[in-house]
Amino acid sequence: MIVIALLAIPTLSGIGAFFMTGDARRRVLLVVAAVLHAGVAAATWIVPPAATAGGWLRLDPLGQLFLSVTSALFLAAALYAVGYLRRERRAAHRDFEEGLLFTNAPEATFTACLLFFLAAMTLVTVSQAFGLLWVAIEATTLASAPLIYFHRQHRSLEATWKYLLICSVGIALALLGNFFLAVAASDHTAVRGAVLLDDLIRGASHLQVAWLKAALLLFLVGYGTKMGLAPLHTWLPDAHSEAPSVVSALLSGALLNCAFLGILRVQQVCAAAGQAEFGQQLYVGFGLLSMAVAAVFIVGQADFKRLLAYSSVEHMGVLMLGVGLGGSGTFGALLHAVNHSLAKAMLFLVAGNILAVYQSKSTADVSGVLRVLPASGILWIAGFFAITGSPPFGPFLSEFTILKAALDHGRDGVAAAYLALLALIFVGMITAGLRMTQGAAADRWTLARPAEPVLAIAPPAALAALVLMLGLYIPPILRRAIEEAAHLLG
């Protein structure tokens, strides 16, 4: 029942939002749906929900972890969106990069797609069958594409097109992976026709190894595209920088995790079949490559939203590296997934505040944020230190756990490369972050300082508080859940 409620709340309110008239009422609906969803998601920690729909929908520790992060981020984003949509309610805007006039997509479509997006992501986390998981991941792409094209101008259209096409092709390859997995299972009566994850894991020793490996490769390429692993990440910086900041926060914080979950599900089966190492080698390679590519584009990046987007590529690399190392590395990766989501979503929301006032995405045009927007400035600096893995924030702890796992496993070369890349990215990010916040404010703001509305500050501030808390103290209930989830991955 609880699982059904989790799916029904965003779906039904999405339909409602689409047909509802009156912007104010629709915004109330958005917030109510977000609060309800977060409430039910929180309740799953107290009362573990039963499996429904013949075992197809079930919340295991892995799914619960990602669901909770998604739900929390959506609540923050929904509150932020209320203020954002109020600001954006103008007939036509002047584009600050090229001076063209453009309008926004209708708010009803935007809100409805936002809620459908949440429904699709929820379905990803509760799916216990690979076919359903595939359907859900493709649905996340389709529900989020209209969100990227909220500002009706050609740069966001270009980003939407790349996102739609590249991710759809990637996910189509993952469908072939689904079929390969079914072939791998067709060899033995114990697993023939098995659709549920649990059945596949139970009979994993009967799976045909060659087909299983081929399936894993296709899943990795397919869902890896969606996750933004280099060299399949080309759509990511465009989509994350051109989408409205509130959407970027969800894309980076919640959606990338969903694709990561898709890869983890396949790894669960591989680990049960005694083939854990085959995938892990690949994950380490993809992880380090993603970090390296991100580092190249982060150093000297002139656009601060693209900077954050490339930082997401980097952190997806860190996650893959952690899972690739296995053992305590898997624990570190899952903890890092939570930390990264909270920190990155918070940074994108603050980026939205800066963008709204400065009307520029160029790091060179923005200076003196601390003077002009004190609250956003403090959050911006805290976010940059958090995301680059500085103590006392959460990402420091999880990145350190992964480093320790590398050293414990005797992978000194991997550890050295990992540290070097982290250091390089730290320098690149902090330079840009400090340059924006320090310095003098332009003359036009010395007299009248722009207002910082509560709805633009409270959501990112709450996320920042969570990131700080996870760096100082991990609640036992969360630690236990991450341990159980890591245990599922062998």
Binding site: A129, G131, L132, W134, V135, E138, A139, T141, L142, A145, P146, Y149, R152, Q153, H154, R155, L157, E158, A159, T160, W161, K162, L164, L165, S168, V169, A172, L173, L175, L176, N178, F179, A182, V183, S186, D187, G193, V195, Q208, A210, W211, A214, P237, D238, S241, E242, F297, Q301, R306
Partner: protein, 213 residues
């Protein structure tokens, strides 16, 4: 079953050498009809209501709805044919021949645990998938890229319908629904690209990049 598979491979080859977009739409529509026939043929020994419904749905979507939708998009656009593909048509056909050989070679190396209904299934499915991938990277118009995505999807589906037994109905419907929405959303995107850029040349979508050069 074999005739349908041969026709499927043939339409893929023809797509590689076609420049007129209306013709490409018709070829992809014909592939949709073939897929519906394949669905029936793959379950020839026991035709249930489920199979018939699925085939009818595929026919309605891939054979009729998608071509209609894409033709409408095309009517709104100025472009009638693919403009200078990245790879010339002759070279595309040559690559197609190579792809066909590769597909047969690959499928000989991938022994299926259970024998499929036809030995042609795996090579043709792989070939169609490869053609789809090739068309996506080698063609410039957005409409052609959507058609290529459909060809890719057709290839993958051929593999699924002929090799995988007992795919749950709900998954098959989900896949079809996703593809339907994907084509629909892409169609809308192309409509907007037409309006914004006065062309449907996806190659011109190059504002967003890190290095200009």
């Amino acid at each position: 079953m074999d005739p349908a598979l041969v026709f499927l491979a043939l339409t893929s080859v023809l797509l590689l050498g076609s420049s007129r977009l209306t013709r490409c739409i018709r070829l992809v529509a014909f592939q949709g009809v073939l897929l519906a026939a394949l669905t029936i043929a793959a379950h020839a020994n026991e035709i249930t209501l489920r199979v018939v419904m699925l085939a009818a749905l595929i026919l309605a979507l891939k054979g009729a709805a998608f071509p209609w939708l894409l033709s409408r998009v095309l009517r709104g656009a100025e472009v009638r044919r693919e403009i200078e593909p990245m790879v010339s048509y002759m070279l595309s056909m040559a690559a197609g021949t190579f792809g066909l050989v590769l597909s047969f070679w690959l499928s000989a190396r991938l022994p299926l645990p259970t024998l499929p209904t036809s030995t042609l299934v795996v090579p043709v499915a792989l070939f169609t998938t490869l053609v789809g991938l090739f068309l996506i990277v080698s063609r410039r118009t957005a409409l052609m890229q959507v058609l290529a995505y459909l060809v890719l999807e057709n290839g993958i589906y051929t593999f699924g319908v002929a090799v995988v037994e007992g795919m749950p109905m709900i998954v098959e419907l989900g896949i079809l629904l996703d593809v339907f929405v994907a084509v629909f959303v892409m169609g809308i995107a192309i409509f907007h690209i037409n309006r914004e850029f006065d062309h449907i040349d996806a190659d011109q979508l190059t504002m967003l990049r890190d290095w200009t050069g």
